[in-house]
Symmetry: C2
Subunit: 283 residues, 2 copies
Amino acid sequence: MALGDNWYTEIYPQDGAAFSLKLTDKIHEEQTPFQTIAIFETEGFGTLMTIDGLVMLTDRDNFIYHEMMAHTGLFTHANPQDVVIIGGGDCGTLREVLKHASVRHACQVDIDERVTRLAEQYFPELCDSNDDKRATLMFDDGIRYMADAKPGSVDIVIVDSTDPVGPAEGLFTEKFYRNCHRALRDGGIIVQQSESPLFHLKLIRAMRDAMQAAGFVDLATVNFPQCSYPSGWWSATMAGKNIKLNNFRNDAARKRPFATRYYSDGVHGAALNLPPFMITALG
Amino acid sequence: MALGDNWYTEIYPQDGAAFSLKLTDKIHEEQTPFQTIAIFETEGFGTLMTIDGLVMLTDRDNFIYHEMMAHTGLFTHANPQDVVIIGGGDCGTLREVLKHASVRHACQVDIDERVTRLAEQYFPELCDSNDDKRATLMFDDGIRYMADAKPGSVDIVIVDSTDPVGPAEGLFTEKFYRNCHRALRDGGIIVQQSESPLFHLKLIRAMRDAMQAAGFVDLATVNFPQCSYPSGWWSATMAGKNIKLNNFRNDAARKRPFATRYYSDGVHGAALNLPPFMITALG
């Protein structure tokens, strides 16, 4: 069945697949110095933001991604105080991070201020902690930020980036991970979105190899559904500086004093259980 | 971006979304007395079978569904010997069921023989246990089959059906579940595909309510990714006749003497952990 004109379609050319959302309105489109950002209203997924034609987030399913990106790392760290978010301009990860009372400073470094300004306008609920006095919003190059970061000054680095092409490419390299490793305190953790277990296993493997080459000893990949991303199945990979990642603060996660819709202690433990085909492919 | 003619698209009208696969060939299409079955070759997902325009299975991702439909129930039951599969004409679930040495008889009851004949031709690996002497392939109405089944004669009923519209509608009713309950021995389990946690929560709730009304006391819904089904996220719901479903034969699952690509003891336990929004919605 052919789709009419009023559909947004993202094609996954390497996998011969595509995902489409029916639109009710195109609200905004602009070319920034870095990328093209567009905002749509959809029939079934609320508001949609795309960057360079790729889905960044929708109202309907972004809670899964943001909760998993933030809480898996923060409930694994013993006492996360200083958090850096690289990318994450829609502020959804920042909001989840700031739910943790232990956090005294969260710095979000997105290269493109327009992502944040549009999120404030069109996804206001994701930005409702932007005025938290523990939050700093910087609009700068995250790669340079981590290269310049003071050694041993950070507990958690969350890399909430676009795919590893274009501006985000340098976020998937051993050099970047070395800088993150140096910036982290002992017991620190980097958490990075690591694409689809079904479509991008080679990329996940390469990312893990680069993290290990950069000095991270223990790694853990978690998996979760994400309807509007390629294959509907997504992952994040954690790497620890002298910390084991298969344990987490289960009690604290169970007694979390804030609401979540996808994340829970049970879901966290579950997400660490990779299927045999992934274990085989990741070595 | 518009898709060209050489794409198969399934629209999910209630959710304003669609999933597409790029085709390299249309191999077969026929109208049976029950439905229209088509077979395609795709660029990235191998062979594709559709029924009435809906994806039934692809080479690339059917392993997840079939392994979860079979092994979660069989490793929960203490000693599964007699298994009935309602639907499942592609024989992929049957193949997984027959991997269990305890099974002495597995009867697959699909209303449409043509599904099986086409699976034998185009998905031969799914049919490689059809000649197992423990297997019976019947082509009949599964609703009537369960209504006529001898009380206390079955250990596991697996309902591997199409969506609850058309011929499969009667498989989602209290009446059908009452017949399954009567046919099951004590300790028996029904396992049914239960659609998408993101798109079809009300249906899952209604199914669970109907199962309870039919006499099943303990229920458990498992969730797993399924790229080519609506939302890329799927579920199966188990109901037990005097058996607890949140425990399973973990040791036997870990030491399983056959290969799986998605299922494992860890994945089984993980799949039982539902996210908070599902727990809330399912009551």
